[in-house]
C-alpha cells in the first residue's frame, strides 16, 4: 500500500526542526533525512521550505550555525539550538500537544455524535 506523503504546515516544520536539533547539531540534509525516516517516510520535507525555515529560525535567534566537518570529512553547515531555541522548542512542543489533543477530542466527539 502506498503511503501518502504530507506537506508540513509552516509552524509544524519549525517545531520539528527545533526538536530534531534537541539531540545535537545537524546540517540541512541531515535534518530533512532524519524527519523523513522518523516519520516512516510519511512526512516529506520540501527543500524549498527547509532552508527558508532554517534562515528564519536563525534570524529569530533560535538556532545558530557553524561550518564543520561531517563524519565523511566533508564541510557542511551545522545548525544547533541556542538557549532561547531550547526554551522555544519546549513551549512549541507543549502548544502542539494541546492543539493535537484538542483536535483529537473534537474529532472523537463528532464521530460519536454522528
Amino acid at each position: 500500500m502506498a503511503v501518502r506523503q504530507f506537506d508540513l504546515l509552516q509552524g509544524t516544520l519549525d517545531l520539528l526542526i527545533l526538536k530534531s536539533l534537541n539531540t545535537g547539531a545537524n546540517h540541512g540534509y541531515g535534518i530533512a533525512t532524519r524527519l523523513h525516516q522518523l516519520s516512516d517516510d510519511v512526512l516529506k520535507v520540501e527543500e524549498g521550505s527547509l532552508y527558508p525555515a532554517l534562515y528564519r529560525l536563525e534570524e529569530q535567534g533560535l538556532i545558530e550555525s557553524e561550518w564543520r566537518a561531517t563524519e565523511n570529512n566533508r564541510k557542511a553547515k551545522f545548525y544547533s539550538l541556542t538557549r532561547k531555541g531550547r526554551a522555544a522548542a519546549q513551549a512549541e512542543h507543549e502548544a502542539w500537544l494541546r492543539l493535537s489533543k484538542a483536535v483529537t477530542r473534537v474529532l472523537k466527539a463528532l464521530e460519536q455524535g454522528a
Binding site: G28, E47, G48, Y55, G61
Partner: protein
C-alpha cells in the same frame, strides 16, 4: 552565544555582506544536492543521472537563495541594488542613449543649482552679523515730485539733526549709527594707495555687533570732534599692506597726508554694504551743533530693531516721529522717514533679476525633463519585448515599474552630479564676470546646502521623468507585446508628440525672454545719453586737503589738464566732479532767479549741481545750445557765472532768454546771483535709461573740489593712460590715480546687471533650443525607423523621394508650429512681469517674437531634415526583408 546586534542594524549590515551570505548559501545548498546525489548513487544510479535527479529534487537554488535573502536582508533595498547592477549593465551597453540623457539632465540640474546657490547666498542665508535680520537702514524720504521721478530718489540721505532726534525718540529701534563713504589716499606704506573707507559714528560697530579680530573698534572718545584720528582696518588691507603683522595696531599711517593711528583690525569677510571698503574712521560729528541751520543732509543711518519688534511697528513709529519733526521744523517740511531692511538694501537691485533667471532655469529644467521622458519612452518602447519576457517569467508589474524608476533615478543622479560640477564652474565664471558691487558677495560657492538641493532636485527629476514611461510600459498587455514582436506596436505616439510640443512652447518662452533682455542691453549700450562716449579715457584723483588749499586745487587741475593735452594723440581733456551719467552729482539744492519773488524754502525749485572745468562739454561733445562754455579766461576773471542744461532751461526759463537770467543756488556759505552764460545739451542722470534732470554747472574755481574725474579724448586710450599717470606723478608723486578706464567701459559696467541678465538668460535659452531640437530630431528619427517597412513599400511603388522627405519634415514642423503658437501665447502673458527689467523694448515686442520664430523654424527644419533624408535613403529590398 555571540552578542547579537539589534535586528535593524544587522539587516543594514547585511546589505554589505550580501556577497558573502550568497556564497555561504550556495555552498550549503551544493552540499545538500551532493548528498542527495550520493543517495541515488547508492541506490544504483549512474553519477550523471544521480546529479540530475538530485537537482530536480532540490529545485531552484537561485530561488531558494532569494528567499534566504528575503529573510536575512532588507528585501526592497536588495532588490533595488540588484536592479542597479542590472541597469548599469544595460546603460553601459546603450552608451549613446545614456550620454544624451545624462548631458541633458546635467544642463538642467546644473543651471538650476548654480542659480539656486546665488539665490541662497544673496537672499536666503543669514546676514553676516549676529541677528542680522534686525538691521535696517533709515532714510529721510520725500514725495516723488521733489526729486526726479525714479523710485530710487524717494529715499534721501539724512541730516545729522534728524539722526539725533530719531535716536532720542525711537522706542522700536536702537543703535542708530551714521556712516558715510569716504575715499582717502594712504601713504607711508608702500606706493600711494587710494582706499575706500567709511566714516562712522561710535554706535556703528556695537549696532552691527561685530567684534574686532585685533585691537579695538571706535569709542565715543574717538568720535568726539577734533579727537585724534584713528582707523580700523579691514582684514584684507591688513594682510596685503601690513603683511598680517599684529604690531600694525598702534602704528601711525597717513591718510590724505594726515596722521592716523591704527587701533584695530576686523575679522576676515567683515563688510558693510560695500565689498571694497578697507578702513573705518570716526565721523566726529558735533552732537550739539544746530545742524538744521548749518548744513544739509549728508549722512546714512543704520539701526537695529529691538528684539520682538516687527518692522511694521518700527515703520509706524518712525513715520509718526518724521511727521512730528516735519511739523516742528521748517527744514523738515515734506520730509518723512523710510525704513529699509538691510537685506533688501543689499539685494534690492539683483533680486528681480535673480527671480527671473530662476524662473528661466526652471523652464530649462522642464524642457530637459520632457526631453529625457521622451528618450525614456523611446527606449522602453524598444525594450518592450524584453519587458514582456520578464513579465512572462514572473516579474510582477511593480517590480517592472520599480526597475524603470530606478533606471531614471540613476540617470538623474549621475546627471545631477555632473550638474553640480557644471554649477561650480559657472559660478566661478559669474563672479569673474560680474563687477564686485553687483553681487556684493566675495565669492559664490557650492556647499552642503547647495549639494542637498541638487540631490533633492535630481531625485525629483528622476521620479518625474521616469513615472510616465514606467506606468505606460507596465500597463501594456504582455500578450500583445510578445505577439507583435515589439516592433510594430506604436509607442504612445501622442504622448511623445505632446512632449515635443511642450518643449517647443517652453523654448519659445525662454527665447523670447532672452531676446527681450538682449534687446535691452543693445538699447542700453546704444542709448543716446547726450554725449559721445567713444575714445574717452577717464581716471579719478583726490587731492589731500592738508597740502592743497582752494586756489592750489584749481591750479593743480589746470596744470595737470594742460600737461595731458600736450600728450601725443590727445585731442582735448577736462575734468568734472564725477563721471557723467552714473557718477553722483555734487549735490542738489534750492535755487532762485533774480527779479522773481523769493518763495519760502520748501516751495523753492530744486536743481542738481555738477562741477566742471573749462573744455568739459567740448571733450564729451555735449552740444552748447546757447552761449558758450567755461574758458580758461573765466577761471582767471573775477566775474563768475553759471551754465545750465536744457532740462533746466525748458522747465524753469521757458518764457525768457536764459542768457539774460541771473540765478543763485543755496549751496555754499555765500551764494551771489550769477549770470547764465550758456545752455548745454541734456545728459541722462543716474543711468543711461533715465532722463536728464535740471542741472546747474559750477566751474571748478567756484567750487574747488578735492576729488575730480578726468576725461581725455584721445585717439590711443592705452598709450595715453600710462602717459597721463606719468604726467600727474611729475606734478605730484604722492597722488593715487584710480579707476583708469574708458568712458565706454565705465558706462558698460553700470549696466552690468542687465548684461548679466542677457548673457545668462541667453545661455539658458540656447540650451533650451538645443534640447528641444534634439527632442524633435529624436522623435522623427524614431518615427522613420518605425516606418522603414512602409517607406520601403512606398519607394518600391514609386513614391517620389521629395514627397517622402516632405511628409517627414512636414510632420515635424506641424508639431513645432503647434508648440510655437502655444509658446508665443504663453510668452505674451508671462513676460509682462519682466517690465521693470526691460529698456527700449516692450514685453510684447513683435520683432523679437518674429526673430525667435524665425530661428526656431530654421533649427526645426534642420532637425527634421536629417531624419527625412534617412527616410529617403531607405533601400526597399532591405526594408522589406526586415521581417
Amino acid at each position: 552565544m555571540a552578542l547579537r546586534m539589534p535586528r535593524f542594524i544587522r539587516r543594514v549590515m547585511a546589505l554589505f555582506t550580501w556577497r558573502r551570505r550568497d556564497d555561504d548559501m550556495a555552498r550549503e545548498m551544493a552540499f545538500h544536492i551532493d548528498a542527495l546525489a550520493r543517495e541515488s548513487v547508492r541506490a544504483g544510479m549512474s553519477d550523471d543521472e544521480a546529479q540530475r535527479e538530485a537537482r530536480r529534487r532540490f529545485g531552484s537554488v537561485l530561488r531558494q537563495k532569494e528567499r534566504g535573502h528575503d529573510v536575512k536582508g532588507v528585501p526592497l533595498v536588495e532588490d533595488i541594488m540588484r536592479d542597479i547592477r542590472h541597469i548599469a549593465r544595460g546603460l553601459r551597453k546603450s552608451l549613446g542613449f545614456t550620454t544624451a540623457v545624462v548631458l541633458t539632465l546635467m544642463l538642467g540640474i546644473g543651471g538650476n543649482t548654480a542659480i539656486f546657490s546665488v539665490i541662497d547666498q544673496l537672499l536666503l542665508r543669514p546676514l553676516p552679523y549676529p541677528n542680522g535680520e534686525q538691521l535696517v537702514t533709515v532714510y529721510e524720504s520725500f514725495p516723488r515730485s521733489t526729486f526726479g521721478t525714479s523710485a530710487r530718489r524717494m529715499r534721501n540721505v539724512v541730516s545729522p539733526a534728524n539722526w539725533l532726534d530719531w535716536q532720542r525718540e525711537s522706542r522700536t529701534l536702537r543703535g542708530f549709527a551714521v556712516y558715510r563713504a569716504f575715499s582717502g589716499t594712504l601713504t607711508g606704506v608702500g606706493d600711494p594707495l587710494q582706499v575706500n573707507s567709511q566714516v562712522v559714528s561710535a554706535e556703528f560697530f556695537p549696532t552691527l555687533g561685530v567684534k574686532p579680530l585685533l585691537g579695538r573698534t571706535l569709542t565715543p572718545e574717538d568720535d568726539r570732534p577734533k579727537a585724534p584720528l584713528v582707523s580700523v582696518l579691514s582684514h584684507r588691507l591688513w594682510e596685503s599692506r601690513f603683511g598680517s603683522d599684529p604690531k600694525a595696531v598702534g602704528r601711525i599711517i597717513r591718510v590724505n597726508d594726515v596722521p592716523v593711528e591704527i587701533v584695530g583690525v576686523m575679522p576676515p569677510g567683515f563688510r558693510f554694504l560695500y565689498q571694497d571698503v578697507d578702513m573705518w574712521g570716526a565721523i566726529q560729528l558735533d552732537r550739539n551743533e544746530a545742524w538744521r541751520q548749518t548744513a544739509g543732509r549728508f549722512v546714512n543711518v543704520v539701526a537695529r530693531l529691538k528684539p520682538g519688534v516687527a518692522i511694521g511697528e518700527a515703520r509706524t513709529e518712525m513715520e509718526a516721529i518724521g511727521a512730528r519733526l516735519a511739523a516742528t521744523y521748517e527744514f523738515n517740511k515734506n520730509s518723512s522717514v523710510t525704513i529699509v531692511p538691510l537685506r533688501e538694501e543689499l539685494t534690492g537691485e539683483v533680486q528681480t533679476s535673480l527671480i527671473v533667471l530662476y524662473a528661466a532655469v526652471g523652464v530649462l529644467l522642464s524642457i530637459a525633463c520632457f526631453n529625457v521622458a521622451n528618450l525614456l519612452l523611446a527606449r522602453s518602447a524598444s525594450r518592450r519585448r524584453e519587458i514582456a519576457i520578464r513579465t512572462a517569467l514572473g516579474a510582477g508589474r511593480l517590480a517592472i515599474i520599480r526597475q524603470l524608476l530606478v533606471e531614471s533615478l540613476l540617470l538623474a543622479v549621475v546627471g545631477g552630479a555632473l550638474g553640480v560640477a557644471l554649477a561650480r564652474l559657472s559660478l566661478d565664471a559669474l563672479v569673474a564676470f560680474a563687477p564686485a558691487d553687483l553681487l556684493r558677495v566675495p565669492e559664490l560657492y557650492v556647499d552642503r546646502r547647495v549639494l542637498m538641493y541638487a540631490l533633492g532636485l535630481s531625485v525629483m527629476t528622476g521620479l518625474v521623468v521616469g513615472i510616465v514611461p514606467a506606468i505606460l510600459v507596465a500597463g501594456q498587455s504582455m500578450v500583445a507585446s510578445i505577439r507583435a514582436g515589439g516592433l510594430t506596436v506604436t509607442h504612445s505616439p501622442r504622448i511623445r508628440q505632446a512632449l515635443v510640443i511642450c518643449q517647443v512652447a517652453m523654448t519659445v518662452i525662454l527665447l523670447c525672454g532672452a531676446g527681450l533682455l538682449v534687446r535691452t542691453i543693445i538699447a542700453l549700450n546704444g542709448a543716446n545719453s547726450g554725449f559721445d562716449k567713444q575714445n574717452v579715457l577717464t581716471m579719478e584723483l583726490v587731492l589731500p586737503g592738508a597740502r592743497y588749499k582752494a586756489e592750489q586745487r584749481t591750479s593743480f587741475y589746470a596744470q595737470t589738464l594742460a600737461a595731458i593735452r600736450a600728450l601725443p594723440g590727445v585731442e582735448s581733456a577736462a575734468a568734472a566732479n564725477s563721471l557723467a551719467v552714473v557718477g553722483p552729482p555734487r549735490g542738489g539744492s534750492w535755487w532762485h532767479r533774480l527779479g522773481t519773488p523769493e518763495l519760502p524754502p520748501p516751495e523753492r525749485p530744486v536743481t542738481l549741481i555738477r562741477v566742471v572745468t573749462p573744455g568739459y562739454f567740448r571733450t564729451l561733445r555735449i552740444p552748447v545750445l546757447r552761449g558758450r562754455e567755461f574758458t580758461d579766461a573765466d577761471e582767471a576773471s573775477p566775474n563768475q557765472s553759471f551754465i545750465v542744461n536744457e532740462a533746466f532751461a525748458r522747465q524753469f526759463l521757458k518764457d525768457i532768454d536764459p542768457l539774460a537770467a541771473s540765478v543763485k543756488v543755496w549751496m555754499q556759505y555765500t551764494n551771489p546771483y550769477l549770470p547764465i552764460i550758456g545752455v548745454v545739451g541734456d545728459v541722462s542722470e543716474g543711468s543711461v535709461r533715465d532722463n536728464a534732470q535740471p542741472t546747474v554747472f559750477y566751474s571748478h574755481r567756484q567750487m574747488p573740489e578735492f576729488g575730480m574725474t578726468l576725461f581725455v579724448r584721445t585717439s590711443q586710450p592705452g598709450a595715453t593712460a600710462a602717459a597721463s599717470v606719468a604726467a600727474i606723478r611729475r606734478i605730484d608723486s604722492n597722488l593715487a590715480v584710480t579707476k583708469i578706464r574708458t568712458l565706454e567701459g565705465a558706462l558698460a559696467e553700470s549696466v552690468a546687471r542687465e548684461r548679466l541678465n542677457a548673457l545668462v538668460s541667453g545661455a539658458f535659452a540656447l540650451s533650451g533650443l538645443i534640447l528641444a531640437s534634439l527632442g524633435l530630431y529624436g522623435l522623427l528619427t524614431f518615427v522613420v525607423a518605425e516606418r522603414t517597412k512602409e517607406i520601403g513599400i512606398r519607394i518600391a511603388l514609386g513614391a517620389p523621394l521629395g514627397w517622402l522627405k516632405g511628409s517627414v519634415v512636414g510632420g515635424g514642423l506641424r508639431l513645432v508650429a503647434i508648440g510655437a503658437a502655444i509658446g508665443v501665447g504663453a510668452a505674451w502673458l508671462v513676460l509682462r512681469s519682466m517690465g521693470t527689467l526691460l529698456f527700449g523694448v516692450t514685453p510684447g515686442d513683435v520683432s523679437t517674437y518674429a526673430a525667435v520664430l524665425g530661428l526656431l523654424a530654421a533649427v526645426a527644419a534642420l532637425a527634421s531634415y536629417v531624419p527625412a533624408r534617412r527616410a529617403a535613403q531607405v533601400e526597399p529590398l532591405v526594408a522589406l526583408r526586415q521581417e
